[in-house]
Each structure stands twice: as structure tokens, then as C-alpha cells.
Symmetry: C2
């Protein structure tokens, strides 16, 4: 850590004098904030791993620790609400470290004037989600800000989980030859929230995929699949997750567009709004990196789980073109996949 | 936990249809929210202890886990800022459980338009505070909300600490005969923030007491003081902390007004604004409950620490008048101390 405070802001003022919505979008702007501001200031080996949660070792074994603030708008959307989302969000981050989520904290920032019944509905939803995932909400905090200085309710959840095996499940464990699996069709959460926000009607109601992935991860571990890396496909979507892992691992990832599962509603909603589903947020989908010899077994385990019914093997890891992600389409042409640039869907989680 | 969701909001709509600022004030409104909404919904034995943090047991020993969201306004005040405050806030909650704080998370909710240099100053301040307390910020999250839907920056910190001894340091351990100590003069933080907010000038600049109490707690433990309970005197001040502990322990607390340390600046600022210093928030002061035979030793340890120079023995615990707090003044008359009712100083932390 620096002995002397560094008084010069590392993001040049002439480029970005102020925070913009894109800094919270999970794409290149967020990456910039993390790389240039948070990492140098808070420097330590655990944070530098840039995984969904931190893993640390205690006398008895390893634990995972993670945090997520939730600012989704609207507070209620088809398939979920800010309450269940805030529980699943942190549960999933812990699961991505290979941990069994155990204890959660809940920090509320309420806006003056929030209807008490709305808060009660949200608390009930958190309670149900915690119960379902076997987690206990053991500590909390409530702050209230003046009307017009917040937006209904923001919820931070942090969590602690136990790692009950010896594997390192981490982007640095990804190796050439690994198969890439996705646990289900992509883009539902982002498009469900957008549909409500924009008042778009579909033939059927598009539901968020918002769900706990902890059971699915435990199923993979119990089936002795030697999982190298897990990543939930939240802000920035599948594309951004792949770019982050390719860059951290130092290998390339090659995806096949034909195998990426996508439902008709998401596909048409994306067309309507001019969005690429590859960049749309999910809240109940993960990508798994496993040795290719275990890919079929992993797929079977996923298919047997309610959270993995539409799972698919979507690509592979290679040594060449280090750090790049490419995607081959129907016609056999290949395109380069980059990190989400700017803000596609603000306040999606 | 309830099998069926309870659809009727437990705080009667006719009484409080909406959230008011006082629900975040740490007094009787906050107490109501916790007792009627959070506890029934999230019911579990750890949460029900209502301590500053949760304590859980792992194979190797006990750990503490705590969370705090920070919404202080203004972001910078004499003696601190939201960055250092957010680190000390969670560090102190862990210390109150008798834990050695180790790992912190940082969850930022930024408002669109926040100057990047302001964010950098805050991050630097968090970094220095973390370094000073020997904590690592190991995981984080950043969200951005639209201009007018936040207020510059809100910071949630959660933390994990290790409990390296066998004592239960908890309000239920308080016993008749315990001496009550306060680690320093009260009311500085609240009045320093109010002075900036209200534009009040004093002869000298009133500084917040914002500081880590972790070292002071370690000093007490190393000196083998059999500490029964610790509580930092944040929102609601000394008075509210005493009422909470009296109610949880089931015993009464009797304070002597003459012994409660108070500096001249806080005293005159409180007079000017018509506030009772007993209810003003502190961010670097604790109350300790120790067997009376150890009171002098505890006081010596506190006096030897930079955080406890003006420490004082301010009262005692008794069996009679269970759950009540009284304070005797100069004239020998005794008055009943109640929980902060309503909101005295909004957004103080």
C-alpha cells in the first residue's frame, strides 16, 4: 500500500470528470474504476484475484466472503423483486467460489416516504429466498435518507460461505482444453426488467431467471466434476464474463453461437430494443469451465437440476490468441467479443 | 420461520403508512422496525441477540460478522469523511463482539455526476483507515444510480473478525454489580457533523471522534479484564445504548451525570441547538460493562490508550427496577432515561 496518499485521481479528469451511469454497468467503465482506483488503493492479494467473492483461509479451512448492493428499478418485476434478488445475488457470488452459502447480512437504505407495506413485501421475499437457500440473515442495518436522495430502497447483502473441498475454483484455474458450459438460456432477467420499465408487452410474460445457483454448484461438486471456474452472468452478461475470464486466465475462449441457449421472447425483445442478448444481465445463470473429458458429465448434472434444464456446452478454451474471446456463427465466420462498453441497461440489479 | 407469508404489515398502516427519517435514527422508531418487521421475518437465534454484529462458530473457533451502510451528509466533516467512517464503523461493530477485525467488503452506491476526484479522496481515506486497523478490503461492488436518485455516495461495509478468546461479550452477560465505563467524552461526532451542516462556528473547530476502537478492546482483553459487554455509542448516543442493554440484560443501569465526560465545545453546541448530548451520536466511543472489582484496572487500560484518554466510570448495574436506566444529577435527583424518540440528527453516519 502507498505510504503517502496519492492525491492525483488515477482516472484523468479531462476524460471522465464525473461518475456516469456506465461506471455501474459492469462493463469497461466499471473495469476502469476497479483497475485504476479500487485495486491500487485497497491493494491486497485476495482482492487482486477479482473473483465474485474473496476466499480466505482460517484454522479450520477456507471461507468465502462477498458483497453486493442492489439498486434495481423497478423494485418488483416479473419473476422477482429487489428482496429475492439481493439474497440470490450474494448467495450466487459465494457459490461461484465453490462455497456453501451460510450467513448473510442485510443493509437497507430506505428513502423517506417508502410505503411500509412495500418494505414488508420486500422483507418477506428476502425471508423466503434465505429460507430456500438454507442461509440465515444474521446481522443488519437500516438507514433512511431524505425524500429525493434515494429511490425507494437500496439493499446491500454480504455473505459468508464455507468451502468444503480442496479445489480452487477461480479464473486463474482455467486451462486450454477446458469446455465452457452455460447453465441455461440467457438474457431473461435483463429483458424482464426492461420490459416492465419500457412498458413492452409480449405474448407471454417474460420472467426473470432470478434464482439461487448454490444447489447446482453443490450438485456439480458432489458428482466429482473437477470444476476449474464458475462465474454468474450478471451485469455485462455472458460476453463480459467471458472477456474477464479470458483476460485473467491469459487464454482465449472460443464460443459457438449456435449452442448458446436463447428463448424466443428474449430474442424478440432484444431485436425490438436493439440489444445484444450476449450483453444482457442474468441473475440465475452461470458459466462453468471444466476439463473437456468431464463436459458431458457436467452437462448431465446441470440437466438434472431445475436451474440447469436448458444448459449447453457453448465453447472451449485455447492457448492461442491469449486473452481474446471469439464467437463463430451459422455461416462459419468468427467475430471478436469485447467487454460491454458504456451502459446498456442501467440499474438492472 | 413462518410457513405461509404474512401478508399483513406488522407496523399498522394507520400509525405509520410510510417510512420516516426517524426509522433510521437508531431510537424507538428503528427499534420498532427491527422488533416488528426484521426479527419476525428473518428469525434465527444469532439475529435475535441484537448485538452490534453476529457471532458464529466454525470448526476452528468463533467469528464475528457485521454490516453497516453509511449515508452521512456532508461527505466530509471535521475529523473524518464517509470513507474513514465506513471503515471504522464496521471495525468497531466487530470489536464490540470482542473480535479482531480482519476482512472488509466495500459496496458503493454512487450518484451519477459525483466528481471523480471526490470518489478518489474517499477511497484514499478508506485505504488509510483500513491500513491503520490492520484490515484488508477483500471484496467489493459498485452501483451507479441516476442523478437525483442518490446523494453523492453511500458506502456499505461489512466485515469478518476472529474471536481469539473464550469470553462471550454480549448484552446478556451484563450482571448486577457491573461497573459501566465510557471510553471518552461524548457527542463530538454528532455535533461536528451538525456544525458543518448548520454552518455554526465555534472558537475552536469541533472534531469528530471518528476512530477505530479495535486496539482499545484488544488492550482490555490482553489486560485480562473480564469484559461482560461492549457497545459503541453511535446513533441514539449513550442514552439509547444504555436503554438497549438494560432491556436485553433484564437489569437496571444507574448513571451519575457528574462523571459523564463532556467537552466544553459539545456542551455549548448542544445548548445552542437545544440537543441533549446523551442522545448525540459518537463514532469512536464505547461503553464497557465489567465486574466492579475490575473497574479500576479497565479504567487504567483505557487511560493508557489514545482512544481512552478521557475514559470514566459513569455508573453501575443493579437488579432492582429491571430494564430501566436512571441518571442522578448534581442535586441528587434522579431521572429516567428513555430511548431516543423520533429523529434528532438525521444522516449522522
Amino acid at each position: 500500500m502507498p505510504e503517502q496518499p496519492n492525491l492525483v485521481c488515477p482516472i484523468p479528469i479531462k476524460d471522465y470528470p464525473k461518475v456516469v451511469l456506465a461506471h455501474g454497468g459492469g462493463g469497461s467503465f466499471t473495469h476502469d474504476l476497479i483497475e485504476k482506483m479500487f485495486l491500487p488503493a485497497f491493494e491486497n492479494p485476495t482482492l487482486s484475484r477479482l473473483h465474485d467473492g474473496a476466499v480466505f483461509t482460517t484454522d479450520s479451512g477456507r471461507m468465502a466472503f462477498s458483497t453486493d448492493s442492489h439498486v434495481v428499478s423497478p423494485l418488483f418485476f416479473p419473476g422477482g423483486d429487489i428482496g429475492s434478488l439481493s439474497v440470490y445475488g450474494t448467495v450466487n457470488d459465494l457459490a461461484m467460489c465453490g462455497a456453501r452459502p451460510q450467513y448473510l447480512s442485510a443493509g437497507f437504505i430506505l428513502e423517506e416516504g417508502l410505503p411500509m407495506e412495500t418494505l414488508w413485501k420486500i422483507i418477506q421475499s428476502m425471508s423466503r429466498a434465505a429460507q430456500e437457500t438454507g442461509c440465515q440473515i444474521v446481522t443488519g442495518d437500516t438507514k433512511v435518507v431524505d425524500k429525493g436522495k434515494g429511490d425507494g430502497v437500496f439493499i446491500n447483502t454480504s455473505g459468508v460461505g464455507i468451502i468444503e473441498h480442496d479445489r480452487n475454483i477461480d479464473p486463474t484455474e482455467v486451462h486450454p482444453g477446458d469446455a465452457v458450459l452455460v447453465s441455461g438460456d440467457i438474457g431473461r432477467h435483463g429483458m424482464a426488467v426492461m420490459a416492465v420499465r419500457e412498458g413492452i408487452e409480449f405474448e407471454t410474460t417474460l420472467q426473470s431467471d432470478c434464482a439461487s445457483l448454490a444447489e447446482l454448484v453443490q450438485d456439480l461438486l458432489k458428482a466429482n466434476v473437477p470444476v476449474h471456474c464458475l462465474r454468474d452472468l450478471t451485469r455485462g452478461g455472458l460476453a463480459t464474463a467471458m472477456v474477464e475470464i479470458a483476460q485473467t486466465s491469459g487464454y482465449s475462449i472460443h464460443l459457438d453461437e449456435n449452442w448458446i441457449p436463447l428463448c424466443r421472447e428474449v430474442s424478440s425483445a432484444c431485436e425490438l430494443l436493439g440489444l445484444d442478448p450476449l450483453y444482457v444481465a442474468n441473475e440465475g445463470r452461470l458459466a462453468a469451465f471444466v476439463p473437456s473429458a468431464y463436459a458431458e458429465r457436467a452437462l448431465q448434472v446441470m440437466h438434472a437440476s431445475p436451474q440447469g434444464e436448458s444448459a449447453s456446452i457453448i465453447g472451449r478454451v485455447a492457448k492461442e490468441e491469449a486473452g481474446l474471446v471469439t464467437m463463430t456463427n451459422d455461416l462459419g465466420t468468427s467475430r471478436l467479443i469485447t467487454r460491454l462498453s458504456g451502459e446498456q441497461l442501467p440499474r438492472i440489479c
